[in-house]
Amino acid sequence: MAHSHTAKRYSGLMDWLTTVDHKKIGILYLIAGGFFFLVGGLEAILIRIQLAYPDQHIFIGDTFNQLTTMHGTTMIFFAAMPVIFAFMNAVVPLQIGARDVAFPFVNALGFWLFFLGGVLMNTSWFLGGAPDAGWTGYAPLSTITDASSATTLQHNIMGTDFYVLGLQIAGIGTLIGGINFLVTIINMRAPGLTYMRLPMFTWTAFITSGLIVLAFPAITVALVELMFDRIFGGAFFDAARGGNNVLWEHLFWIFGHPEVYILILPAFGIISEIVSTFSKKRLFGYSSMVFATVLIGFLGFMVWVHHMFTTGLGPVANSIFSIATMAIAVPTGVKIFNWLFTLWGGQIRFTTANVFATAFIPTFVMGGTTGVMLAIPDADFQYHDTYFVVAHFHYVIVGGLVLGLFAGMYYWWPKMFGRMLSETLGKIHFWFFFIGFHLTFFPQHFLGLMGMPRRVFTYQPGHDLEMGNLISTVGAFLMGIGTIVFLINIISTWAKPKTAVADPWDGRSLEWAIPSPAPEYNFKQTPLVRGLDALWKEKMAGNKEMIPAEPIGSIHMPSPSILPLTMSLGLFIAGFGFMYEHYIVVGIGMAVTLISMFLRSVYDDHGWHIEPEELEDKGGRA
């Protein structure tokens, strides 16, 4: 108690730059991820404009390749991942009855690394052109650095450097974020909260964190090798000098496939929470749900070759990975039926969150079934790298993940911001987005089968591809309108006072036991958990709130710090140094990072305390 708390507080912008509070970091992730989502969405609209009619000349050649590359990379790494991290930050500590994550400083560092990595990659638009070798960055297209061939090939040789360095910096952030949540969920659960009482979203966050820790090293190795090939004249992927381009494909997909589950598992978690809350029933088959999640995570590492059936690995490898891929359909099916039977016999309320969540179920089933079709290597010879694949992965990522994320936003918005989003605007948002989504991507299945490869900037008239492409473009615009309605919803409700109650949805898990938005210290007293759906259990027992597991006392809080930002900025600067091969700039950037690390190591910071008296006036509404 010797430490004063007033001296450690910042306000305004400095508060946001130095925060280590998981709730504020969650909001930062949401804003940054939302921003990149809009950027990636704009790129998607431009792609669809070019493809609306055959033989158009709006964005052709390398410009188009830059658009598709940036659309994919931005959406996966800088939109979907951070929004998932936003929810993990905003919700997981609350669901486990913790006051923060295990390493608040690392949490802030993870955010700034991701954010500056994303900014670095997007600065490419203003510095000569964006990466253009696809989000998969297949070598040797991605290793071309010979300036003379660049002029004749109209290939933007610098672009891929932004991809290599942006993803490396952001990747460190994601990796430490994953470690942080693993430790948090293992160590910081409230008394009585055993693993088999964890809310489903926390379970999926747990598995996703494990997948991040195991999968990200593969892409890190791949990116480092690519960086060596590009910047230092290495030959990892150069066949002419004894390298092998298929090596990149393996490393990329050893990461890339688990990444799909890193993305979708938290969406499964969100859907489980929402479906259960709005049908007023506990999750059907909770144990099998947990088991299915673990199994999907495990199998997710054994199927990467299904992205490479046409690489030429031979029928033995193709068959083994085909069967492993089909096997994933079983635990996924278990989840689908568990959701349906959670709804069965319930009192289903169609709030916007639940409309998104229930729309997720059939849409995801459609994406999953085309996944099984794609798992057949011989048939995949026809599907591979066509619009059929584009349709499939947008069904699982947009129809699955993005619908899940929107559901999560409407659901947890009051807990994050203390305001409810408008239900009317929410429903308008849903219909535009949902109808637009199916119009955009359903015809693409057929375009692929009818002979349209993916990543093409145009197609010739007279091959029956015109109608499908036009419908697809119309759909993309409807999705755009839906997203704009969502932005209007945010802005218009922002103007209203913070009136959200603690438990607006008749919730079941711990986050609904504390005020909206959650106070800085989350729980005045750590709650005692007496079963699955902890809050629901207390409500059913006639208790108004959770039973505390400790007396009211002074609460220890971590100190804010600017060092996560400066550490990340140092790497950001060094990144530019590497790209332009100015090693002095590399030195300066690394110095900034290392000095920040040094300062972090030598200054003992014991944090600060919130005293009980202060709790009384602030937590009055609890």
Binding site: N318, Q347, V365, R455
Partner: protein
Amino acid sequence: MWRLIPLFAVMTYLLTGCGDPTLSALKPKGPVAEEQLFLMKLSLFIMIFVVIVVFAIYLYVLVRFRKRKGDNSIPKQVEGNHVLEIIWTVIPILLLLVLAVPTVSYTFKHSTNYTKDKDAVHVKVTAHQFWWQFEYPELGIATAQELVIPKDKKIAFELVSADVSHAFWVPSLGGKIDTNPGISNTLYLQADEIATFQGRCTELCGASHALMNFSVVSKSQADFDAWVTKMKTPASVPATAQKGEELFKENCMTCHAVNANGPGVAPNLKGFADRDTVAGILEHTPEKMELWIHNPQEQKPGNKMPAFGKEAGGKLDDAQIKDIVNYLQTLK
């Protein structure tokens, strides 16, 4: 009802047909593509069964169990149901087993390497940014952009790339395979009909990935043999085209061969006069040929051929380009 609106839109769209018969994987023109379509249909029917079951339960649940006004009762908190859970674990496993058997069998069948088979026609494919080279090692000829094959015969491909990765795809005849630099892949296809099929590159390979088209011409065995003989005979240049031939030798010969006896750094032009396209994408007319020679970058961004037209920074005037085009049309 709301779900039906996009469905109707899609159905109308589907009724317009399943694509161009020379490009669609849904209209197979050879045994490989046919068997692959069988696999697609088999998996599709199994999956449609799954989708129907899920949708039926889903719609029933959403209608039947919606919250009624004034009903504030607490539903029974069901933990799970072992029988149901076993059913929806075992049935999918059985369905997948049904699917797995033909999957594995066709995967092996279609990966058979026929390049050493005496009855198959052996073709060596080399992919370039952004064109295709086809060599027939046993016949001693090479061509580009337009692959000529005899119908009803297995064509055993050996594929490699000269620069970045590409992928070789003729949807009407069967699935694709990547062309990697330094590692060769094999594939076999067969055509049942005399026709010209469309080919596409399906691996992102640079600025003109979208324009890296080729075609496959299947002929009767007799016509194919005649084509081979013709390819082996040098074209005779009529007097009217000699000016063009001179210009061609001066400007084009360093890259483009006009005899079918070997590959080159650019497409082999032997038999060019009989092809259906210029550069795989333009109509085969003198105007388009002039357009192409004048400035190839306008037509196919990023390809390696420099502009020859004076206005585009080259050294040939319009009359000279016309002479070359005149000569090209004699390359039978």
